[in-house]
Symmetry: D2
Subunit: 472 residues, 4 copies
């Protein structure tokens, strides 16, 4: 429900060091991370002498041509990136990985996350004569690394990383090494794997499944891992560690087969649904999950409540952008084209619909209306996460075009607006209980609670930064 909901992940990254098919593996891995970004993608490769890259706009199948992929064949080291789709303002120059050429050596960079002091750092660098070419946070790190005069490459990278604040997972490729870094809150997921004896790194473990790699472990907040001819070097760029992984990764973004500490999000989502069943006191004939992301939560709800789960809503796989008139009516039609009730399943039934989140409420309103039109006697809405109320500064694009409905309305007001017979959200505590039960040491819940774990230095949403810095 990406287009309609107004929640967008900012990116997915991958890297592999020392494999004869590094570019092909990266290409396959990026395909499996495509749900994290559909605006563009690319690959940068290294043969220890120089770096070479290719990138493009759109889905990977459009972004990279066969010729480009072939041209990267045989390089043993590679990093890759998929980028999310903003409503406007997207340009090739912002598509990653970036590749910076210099007589001192080449530098490739790919980044998932969002820095909270990028503008401040950038302005200071510009005051000192630096020229930025993109509106991307990622370029800031490249300048910081380049400005550093230390003779040691790891020192240069560590010092640069300490100057930036926010949520980030980085893969950095140069002639000597592939460096992996995760911010000290660990907001974005980052996983270590191995294939045919070569280490690899990915935003989600589903990338390992796709290429046939083994999942080793989750990378820790503050870790700095260097892959080079000398082997793997585990280090930290900071001693600080405040685990605060993004809750939305569990609830909505990560692919259901991706694992965190050896548990799939499918299982976590089932547990969220079970918790919701315990907290939601409604009787019904059937439970329906909103496809695809809420099917697991609905399954958990069904198991816990004993109410059978049915596929009462179907998703049309083929609806892309359409050329119909804009506005609220158009958005509702878009939902209608994307989701359809199965009449003879829902007719005459009391139904509990499980959705993983409500952003604007457009989808929920349509679902209730469509199910009732198809003959449902009652429609109760259960949300397997707490009310979403606050914007994200750490790498999620909560569309500003949308009102976030829960930021200004009570649950009862929302219920009335979407027309449901009842509306229940999961409590924040129950959500954390689920996470803790699967080994989470800390989880960011700022979008629900407003408790931002990292100070928001620049107070700029991604699109605002974009406007301030867009060059040619």
């Amino acid at each position: 429900m990406y287009d309609i909901r107004g929640l967008n992940e900012e990116c997915g990254i991958f890297g592999v060091y020392g494999h004869p098919n590094a570019a092909e593996l990266t290409y396959i891995a990026l395909h499996s991370l495509q749900h994290r970004g559909q605006e563009g993608g690319g690959i940068v490769c290294s043969n220890e002498e120089y770096l070479f890259g290719a990138r493009g706009m759109g889905l990977l199948t459009e972004a990279l041509s066969r010729e480009q992929l072939t041209s990267l064949h045989g390089f043993p080291h590679a990093i890759g990136h998929v980028r999310y789709a903003t409503s406007g303002g997207s340009e090739l120059s912002n598509v990653q990985p970036f590749l910076f050429k210099s007589h001192k050596g080449d530098l490739g960079l790919a980044h998932n996350g969002n820095l909270v002091n990028a503008m401040s750092v950038r302005e200071a660098l510009e005051d000192d004569g630096a020229i930025f070419q993109t509106s991307s946070d990622t370029e800031t790190l490249a300048h910081l690394i380049r400005k550093n005069k230390s003779p040691d490459r790891k020192t240069r990278i560590k010092t640069a990383l300490r100057q930036i604040k926010g949520a980030f997972a980085f893969v950095i490729l140069d002639e000597e090494a592939l460096t992996i870094a995760l911010d000290d809150h660990g907001v974005r997921p980052l996983m270590l794997g191995m294939i045919d004896g070569a280490y690899c790194v990915a935003s989600e473990t589903c990338a390992f499944t796709a290429i046939g790699a083994e999942y080793i472990r989750d990378i820790e907040p503050g870790e700095l891992i260097t892959l080079s001819e000398a082997g793997i070097d585990f280090d930290r760029y900071t001693e600080a560690s405040h685990p605060n992984m993004c809750s939305m990764e569990y609830i909505y973004f990560a692919r259901a087969d991706s694992e965190f500490r050896n548990t799939s999000t499918y299982t976590i989502r089932k547990s969220l649904g079970q918790q919701l069943a315990r907290e939601m006191d409604v009787d019904a004939d059937i439970v329906i999950g909103v496809p695809d992301s809420s099917l697991a939560a609905a399954k958990g709800f069904s198991e816990e409540s004993g109410i059978p789960q049915e596929q009462g809503l179907l998703k049309n796989r083929y609806v892309g952008r359409t050329f119909l008139s804009k506005g609220q009516e158009a958005r509702e039609r878009a939902v209608r084209m994307k989701l359809s009730p199965v009449r003879d399943v829902v007719e005459g039934k009391r139904i509990i619909v499980i959705d993983d989140s409500i952003v604007r409420g457009t989808t929920s309103r349509y679902i209730v209306k469509a199910l009732k039109k198809a003959g449902a006697k009652e429609v109760h809405m259960g949300v397997s996460s707490p009310p979403l109320k606050n914007p994200c500064f750490y790498g999620i694009d909560v569309s500003t075009h949308a009102e976030i409905i829960a930021s200004s309305k009570s649950t009862e007001e929302i219920r009335r607006e979407i027309g449901a017979d009842s509306l229940s959200y999961l409590s924040v505590d129950a959500m954390h209980d689920v996470y803790h039960s699967y080994g989470s040491k800390g989880q960011c819940d700022a979008c629900f609670t407003g408790n931002y774990p990292i100070e928001i230095i620049d107070r700029l949403l991604p699109q605002e930064k974009d406007q301030k810095t867009k060059g040619v």
Copy 2:
């Protein structure tokens, strides 16, 4: 699993008569029929004076531009078509609806199905001086209508229809009327609906849901319906009627929310799964449906057997064509990129996997392998249809590149090839029992049994016809 399986529907059609937003409704309806054809699509409109059309290659969002759609706004009558994707040889000239201009009046045509005497009729017409521009069966009907000298348009159309044999659902638009015709076996589905007082027609009822129309009834084999200023005229072009709807529409092609005689294919597929559970004597810990088309059958199997259903396989929504090397290894990688097991769901389990059909066996082999690699103790394969053994001459493209595995191998041989611990198919009788229980008066099962209900006059598969007739 469209790309991988090698089974392709030949088309979807839609028509609406007398609605101020005829083109827009057609556009939305075609989106909901996109699963029936992704190669190209188009719309032809009429304002009772002349016809105007637009069409293009690819998915609808690529095939028709905003400008084209806007140019069709305001015409009250429209027909539309989506066309299936062949591996090669596709050209704009074959994309429908066709629009034939003449000083005697314009003629628009869209067709779902396959004629079994198109080549014979075409050759006779060519012997008489006719020039064909496409390699499509549909053009044959246009020539037959044009050659007919009767002063009455309905007589011209009826006579032409009687000259063609095979499976066909036609919508025919001229300045006077929108004519709807279904072959006397009713092989392809065709549904009558109404929106805002205007009649409409579609391959599946999901198109009615998408535009907000009411589903009136299934069109009968041999029926000829004329929509004109004079209202609706129900007639037949032939008295013959041998109901033989394609079984594969129920099993695999139709969208799960599409209804036949007021029953959704979701419900029918659940019943097929229930029947399979009765016939398949295997114990297991969980049941997994291959997403998306086999989830309903798996649900039925689970209900009947009492074995819980889990989402143990996930489908990656974003995998399109990739630029990787060809051949068997590539096909297996394609499946791996598209389907992933959820490790912690399947680990240590005895699993029954439900799939709706097996064509080449590539997907099944991968699924068994992947589930076992992910830790499954046993993998039993249950197919909710009988063994697929024979090619189709009535509008399904069973890829000739693929061996149809069951045409030459026994069930035990297939089981060994796919590596499953057991393999069970639904019996032909049980399949028909399900269909009859939902009111079916006769169902084509030629691909399972080889009993072709309509004589195969030309004995040419679609791709063979294409080669014989491709012009410029």
Copy 3:
């Protein structure tokens, strides 16, 4: 000055029979005929078993890809076509050569000219059930050939040719032969050549120069030449012969190095300029030809008058379509961007500007104004053809958007409108004298005199036909 003037040739054709590089030769030859049509082009080849073609929109370099050209390599027989650019309504389906497929054999056709009874014949064919796919006259001939039941292919072609009236040069390719036909007035040029022992045919001899072929002779009005395995067969499809070659071919269309009866149009144009010098009683300091087409006439004028010729006007090679506002101002700016005076050549001079024709007068008005602004003391305009007054029905597109200025205005009125100090046209008699002196047996001068040598049966200009017949 093609875009600006509003005079467009309708096409160029080429054919070669029995050469190992037939497609490549055709491709090169079509490049040299590109001045006869820039809207689209194509090639159809034969290997005596079947025909294969490729075509596209735009200049040849855009119309045919390297892959398409390569796919045609090795076929020994080929025909080709370049098509002129209409203001709108151009579609791939109208780009030639046409290739008609049939179980009775394939048929390739390319045509230069315009039929005057195409609509009448077409309507009669449609009354008999024929379906046309294009708005092109050329398709009419294909239907006439196909409808003919004679067992002899030459008889079929001859009979069909006798049913059409107008201006036409045809190359017709089927599995047996390449047939060449010219209408009995010989309105469009058609030349016979030979390369490496293989016969070839082209609209102009410049095509022979381009491929290194030998120019044999001009094809005669009414001739029908057949190239086949049996060698060359010279025949006529009619005994009638009324030589009436289009005067505009000499004056403006043909490339200056193309020859007619062994005389280049460069030489003919020089003679037209010499005649004009004899008829035009004006003294001046320098003579300037409007580049490129009028440089030869200016050279002749200079030689005859003794007034030195200078390059006082330059043409910008790179001006294509621009995205600036429309209308008269835009058209004047287009001329200004395309033609520039050389200030120090024209300053203080009395100037005679030689142009080969005046259609709307826009260019002439700009030239006078620009030369005066650059300091010219006097600007006299000499036109090396008679006043252009009438539309053409034989294959020249005299833009209807433009007023043909001389159709409603006297020479003195035109002089005043373009602001020249004097304006002189060549007389019709002097023009014919030139043509006769180079062996012409008869020349169409309808656009000057209104004496149409072929009866205009349908009285439709090309764009009117287009509107009546455009299909999809």
Copy 4:
């Protein structure tokens, strides 16, 4: 003959300050400068608050869309650029004008020429942490300006300009002003004009003619002109002045109607032809200039020698890139497709062919062969410039793929290779005599003599620089 000869100008620039149609004027002006670069182009505009730009690949008509042009409408200040076509390695990121965004203000830059210390300066900047995004010299100046901490913008620009060496004409746009700078040798032409009271600047005066502006004067070596709200400010960034305008601008590059110190290159080229006639002792029947660039020289030769000039060679306007096999044979065919002899003009004649330069000799060899094949009795080649022997480091791309024939061969050897009956070059002294007679104070003749007026610090040809610095 651009493609074939292997000589490419590096760019053309334009700027206008304070005109309501600044972007449209720039667009038209760039069209008239298109002969200086066909690889790409762009426009950057300012409204004194911020800068906005658009650029693209290919000819201007492809590079800028109507939408882009419209989006620039209304900005009062603009600079523009057209870029030359290299054989490979061209990328959008190198297309100018560059637009650098910063919180300190925006900076737009366009450049014609080539710096001889760009690599040295770049490496020093990189050692200090600068990140370059392009392989262009132009970016170097931007970094130098940005690194400068002076509070005065003119001081920053002057200081930066003093740090670069080589040939350059710059237009620099920021929120405050449009700055114009020419190197102290004045290698590339740069002209000052005025339109509707607004100052403008262009590489050649033909841009002024195209937009209807008045040509004021040639900008002097070392000049720095600032256009701002305060009016025009004439200054110098250096006291040094060593006039050394590129000879090839006169001989070949500049459009014939472009003026230098109020003399058109047409007139200068005529004089070069006259000088050649004095130095070349050959009798003949006709003189033929190679179109288009050598027609003026041929005219001068004809006037001085009394031998009549004829159009014995024609140029095909429509030949672009073709998809035929590569190598020497392909190059010869390319010339044959582009140039054709007029048989009846040259047959039986003793001919002097005037060409403005010989690079590889391919064209000359073809011309001699083609004229002889067409019947010429003798073909003498006269070149209206001295033998071209040395590469250029100041902004001309003398293709490295080509042997520069005169660098290793004597005139007699070249004559034999091209098959001419005689071959004469203009002497260096005679060339300079012509330039001096038209007021030139000094002219670079390094490509003829090897006397490079500016020290070649980095000794890198453009393509070598490109390889060293190409980023993504």
